[in-house]
Every structure is written in C-alpha cells, then in structure tokens.
Symmetry: none
Subunit: 215 residues, 4 copies
DNA sequence: GATGAATGAGGCTTCATTCAT
DNA sequence: CATGAATGAAGCCTCATTCAT
C-alpha cells in the first residue's frame, strides 16, 4: 500500500507473456498431479497472477489443458523429419542422431512431462488424445519407419517388420521420459540418461543391423 | 410396485465377495479416469452395490486405491523368480519364457492397468509409489539382472552394463501395457501383442547375444 | 462356532432387561456427546447388543431419547412432595433435608446428566421439553414454594417473593449437576459436593430466614 | 429476467463484515440447535451468503465454532476486574454492581448463549473447554473471590469458605443465562430478570453479610 | 428374536467459474 | 486489464434405518 510498493515498474510483466507463463505453470502441475487434481488457483499463483486472470486467457480448465498439450508439440519432429531427408551418413548413425537429439530437445526438457500427461489423461480427453496420436505419434512412427526402411534398403539393417519394430524402438525413449515424472522420484539418484541411451542404442543397433556379410 | 418387483430382494448379503468386486470395479475406473476423476459412486454402482457399502470394506477412497494397487501384485514375479532358479535351458530361452509369461499372466490381464495407475498417480501417493518401487520394480529388476548375469557367465550374452540394460529391457513390455490403456484407444485395431513381443525379442536377443565364436 | 462357545448360558441376559440396558447406555452417551453426536451403533455396542436389536425395542433414535428422558424422572420428586406434607421439624431443616436428599438420590447419580441433556436439547425437542417442564420443573417449583410458604407462615422465613425465590434457590443445585458433566472435566479434582451444599445452605438459610425477633 | 432483477447484483463484496456476520449467525444457531445439529448451510443463509463463502473465512465447522466461542469473551470480565480494583463503596454494593453489570453486558445479550454452548459441547471439544475454563471461569472466580475477601476483611461479610462460596454465588446468574436458551421457551412469559436478580441479591447478601454488631 | 450387511438421504468440504470492484 | 470475493454444483463420507439371513 505504500508508495514504495507502487514503484515497481508497471510494465515489467508484459501482457503477451502471460499465457505462456500460465501454460508453463499448468504443464508442471498437470504433469505432477494430473488434470483433475490440479487446482487452477495453484496454477495461477505459480504463474504469479490471480485466479481470475487465468480466465482472461483461457476459457476454462479444459481449454488450458489443450493449450498445454498444443504447446508440447515442439517442432522437434519436423526437424527430425528434415534430418531424415538430408542425412548422408549411415542409417545407424542417423538413428543414433535422432534418438540423442530427441532426448536433447524434448526428453530432457520440461516438455517430456507431456508424455506422462497424455498417457494419464488420454481416456478422459479422447479428442485431445486423437489429435496427439495423429500429430505426434503417427508422424514419429512414420519418421522412424523411413529410417528403418532406408537402412534395410541399404542392406545396413536386416529385413524386418518395420511397423512393429518402430513401436518397440520408441518404447525405451518414452519410458525414459515417463520415469522421471513417476517412479523415478522413489530412486535416490536420477537416471543417468546418457548411460541409459548408450545401452539402449547398443541393443537396438545390435538387434536390427544386418549380420556382417560372409566373405 | 408390481408383484414381480416385490419378489426380488433389494439387496443380498455377500460379505465374502464384495471386496474383490469393489476392487475390480475400482481398478477399471481408476485406470480409465485416474484417481481423482473416479467417483466412488460409480465404483459402487459398477460393483452392483450402493455408495455406503463401499465404506463397509474400505475406510476411504485412498484405502480403496491402496487395495487396488496391492491386489495388483499378483504372485507372478515370485513365479518368475522361481523360474529363473530352476530353468535349465539357454538364457535366451529363459528370457523369452519370462517375457512371454509376463504378458500372459499380467500384461494381458486387467492388472496391466495398474502400471498406468502407478505412472499416473505416483507423485500424488508417494507412499504407494515407494511400496510399488520396492516390491515390484526392484524385484523385477533383480530378477532380470540375474538372467542377464546367467547368460553372460555362460558366454551366451555379451559383456554388458547389466543395471542399465535391465532398465532398457523392461521398457517395451511396460509400454505395451500402458499403450492399451492410453493412446491405444485411438487406434482402429488393438496392438497385436504377439507380433509386438516377437519383434521385441528379436531385437533384444540380437542386441545382447554374444557374436558367434569364430571358427 | 465351536461347541464350547455355545455353552454360555443362553438365559444369562434376559429379554426384559435389554431396554433398560439400552437406555442406560444411551443416557451416558447422550449426556456426554449430545443427541446428534451420539451414534446408535455406539449405544448398542455399549449395551452389548447389535445395532439392529435396538430397533426391536425403540422405534427410532428420537423414541430412544424420549425413553431416556422418561426414565430420568425418578420418583424422587414424589417422595419429596410427601416429605413436605409429613415433615414435622422446622422449615429450615426441611429445606436442608430436601436439598441433601435431592443430591443423594438424583444429583449424585447418573440421572443427573439428564439435566444437561434437557438444557442442551430442549430447543430441538420442544415436545419433550414441554413434558419435562410440566412434570419436573413445575412440580419441583411447587414443592419448594410450599416449603417456603410453610416457613413464612411459621414466621421462620422472612416475607418474600416466593415464585422467584424458588427459581434462585434451585439454581445452585442444578448447576452442581451440570458442572460434573461439562466444565468439571477441566478441573483436576471433582467438586466436593458436600462442601458445596454446605456453603449453599448456609447462604440460602442466612438469606431467607427471618431476623431474630428483638426482645 | 426482469429489468429490476438485473439491477440488483447477485452478491456484494463485504470482506470486512462477513466474518462477524457469520459468527453471529453461527452463535445463534449453535446455541439453538447445538454444534452437531447446526447445518453450515443454514449458518450461511442466515448470514446472507452462500455455503462456499463460509469457507473463505473459516477453515471448517470446528474453526467456526472456536471463533464463536472466542468472540464470546467480551472484555466484560476485564472491566469487572478493574471495577473491583477501583470501587470505593461497600462490598455489598460492589457485588450488586458487578452482578447487575454482568447481566447488562453479557447475560442479557446474545453472548449469553455461549454459556449454554459451552455446557453442552465441552465434552466434545475438550480443548475449547479448557481454554474457556482458564480464561473465563478461573478469572471470574478470582474476581468474585477478591470481592468476598474484601468484604470479609472489612468486617462487612462474615467469615466464609471463599472458594466454594464463589461457586455457589455464580450459579444463579449462570442459570439465568441458560434458562432463556433452554426450558425458558416452555414458559408463557420470559423470566423477569430484574425481579430474579433482586431476589437473588437479597438472598445472597442476607446470606453472606456479617450480623450487625451488638451495641 | 438377533444380527449386521446394505442402503441412501444428508451434511461437510472443495474448487471451477463468475463478476463486482 | 486484473483482482479475489462470492457462488453453487458435485464429490466424499457418515450414520439412522431397513431387512435378508
């Protein structure tokens, strides 16, 4: 109430940054507690605004949820898709590149939590799930499928059931993302993701590369 | 008011079977909607009883939740542990046996949903998460570690970082369980688990088996 | 279920004693917790029967409550009324006799709690309150009024406003009954009722006796 | 839907006055029905707000109850204590002053009901009872004890058992407060408190004053 | 008669949403 | 725009009462 209090710059928090602050706060809380157990008041307070302000930017809780999910589709897949087009090295190297890049740009960031969110809430929000499935899962599947097909065509990978190999292939990275937002909290130390991914790639490549041609 | 109506009793005494019926109903709904979004009235009605009856068997919602999770520890892990002790074939065959058995006795049953539940709710119920981590995750890890060590000792598997290989190894099976309770609903057809596991085992065994000795 | 269990004498708890056991249990609990906060299951269990049995003897909770209050009208007032008719000593002695007798036969017994019950619940049960007022309060008032009138007529007590003196006169004894069922629980030691009543009678008689005639 | 309807706001912001309005409403209802039988919805509606508003100011029902009791300790005791220190007239006059003042500032106001509340609920809320006992009962006892000692020291009152005389002395005033909130409702006319207190003081002073010195 | 499992109305409490300020 | 007091629907839980055994 004092004059001193009022001296804070009034323009410090610009209007246009509010929505993303709210989305960030919501992401963290939705991931931690789930959709239903997250209170909008806590979202607002974590974003540094009042409860009412939230409704200036989002129609309701579900709308905020959708915004969170939409914001979670970082353009990483697009980049990966481009990489598949342009890459000139071996398919093994490409696979390694994509997977490590995935971790670097998504898995290791706060966005990883969205995967947990989708897993947890997809039954409650079929529409959002469908959208995520189409725009993320299918595209990622296709991208990996192309890499595998590229490797098979080059004789680098063995013949394989590409569709299902892709499903298997994605599992360990997805689990790595889920882990830190779930049971990982029970472990004394966080997972060593580099070590995890190394082991994973070793198995994966060992499991899909064609045996060396006999002399 | 009809004579027919009067003939059927308004309720039955079924003290023995009620708890498991309630737990089954709760499992299905917790898995589908999550803990917070599941209404106890719906649990009760799915179990064919009234709201109040639930409280004859469980103190409150959290107690019911615990019961659901506890009931999910089917003695399958124990069986698998015994299998590891007794198995006489190759380690590859043992691994295949365990993984297919896992699917048969857990993954393919309603109990699989508990995994989704744990992933979704572990942050809200640290105590339950800790218990699950100790009694399920740790034990499963150890069991798989022993299988891998067995294979390495026999020269059947290559040298490896056992701890982290176990983590990677479990991911595809866990994801298979999660899938059917989440985004799997977006797909036109359910996953073909046999096909999935076949591909998985092919990669896994290809990835961890020692290269054939050179002549 | 064993034969041994069945050997307990079947006639040990006779049917006709049930209601009073239930009423006793209910009295204690109603007094301690109040009408609304008393659970019938606890009443039943304290009386050593099951919840259903209670309904064999009382229509419902209110009926039980009425029975408790009715049972609380011990015939002490009637005795006191007779005493007033027959007593041959001084009015002071009669007053002392009645008040000490009151304590002995009512105030010091579990029935004292009913006073607290009536005070607490009279607004919720106007019908019962009216009945208590008529059958207990009015009668007690009349009895004390007669004693006072007797004393005044004999020149033993001074002239007084009998109706209101009676009200004042009853207060300390009623409070003594209330105390042990309320704030008395906060005190390290129970009230010394003899000492209390002595002081009370000293004040009372000092306050209503006529001054000694001047010579 | 009429224009008139739209003109009156559905609710008002009255942060300052809400708590005391709620406490007043709660006092009246707790006194009338007791703690357990009072519905918070009724408290809210009597205070002119909705159920939820109550929870903006009080954590829960018990917290509201505590607030009601706390609000009941009007600073009257403090005033009385000061009066005892400063008073210059006779001890009889002081006693009369205090007792009539008590009625004027507490007994005759809505706060009187709290006494009934404490009597009724002290066993259910031992903590509140203890607090009331310490801060109200003990202090009032001490104050009256000082008055009595003052009178005895001055030779105005006879020798007496001060502690227990105080207990007896307080009973009629307390009963007067209880009466109007309990069985008083059964009487056609309310008690005439002036007449009651006159009679009371006459007895009391007659009972504790020293006999006039003989010439 | 006696039991206690089952019922369901009702009260406490939370929280998404609205709206006066 | 921003706030946060106010709302009220909805969910958890209790417990008086019923009734199959």
């Amino acid at each position: 109430m004092s004059a001193a209090t009022k001296l804070e710059p009034r323009w410090e928090r610009r209007k246009e940054s509010r929505p993303s602050e709210l989305v960030d706060a919501a992401l963290a809380l939705f991931v931690e507690h789930g959709y239903a157990a997250t209170r909008l008041e806590e979202v607002a307070s974590r974003a540094g605004v009042s409860k009412g302000t939230l409704y200036l930017y989002f129609e309701n809780k579900e709308d905020l949820f959708k915004a969170v999910v939409r914001a979670g589709i970082v353009p990483a897949i697009e980049q990966a898709e481009k990489m598949v087009d342009c890459f000139e090295g071996s398919s093994s190297a490409l696979l390694r590149e994509i997977i490590l890049g995935w971790w670097q740009f998504i898995g290791g960031t706060p966005h990883a939590g969205i995967t947990k969110l989708i897993i947890s809430e997809s039954r409650n929000f079929p529409e959002i799930a469908a959208f995520w499935y189409e725009d993320v899962v299918i595209r990622a599947n296709r991208m990996f499928a192309r890499v595998l097909e590229r490797g098979v065509a080059a004789g680098e990978f063995r013949q394989m059931d590409v569709d299902y190999t892709v499903r298997v292939l994605m599992a360990p990275v997805i689990m790595l993302m889920l882990w830190s937002h779930s049971l990982g909290a029970c472990e004394p130390a966080p997972v060593d993701s580099a070590r995890y991914l190394d082991n994973y790639l070793q198995i994966l490549l060992g499991g899909i590369c064609a045996p060396p041609a006999k002399p």
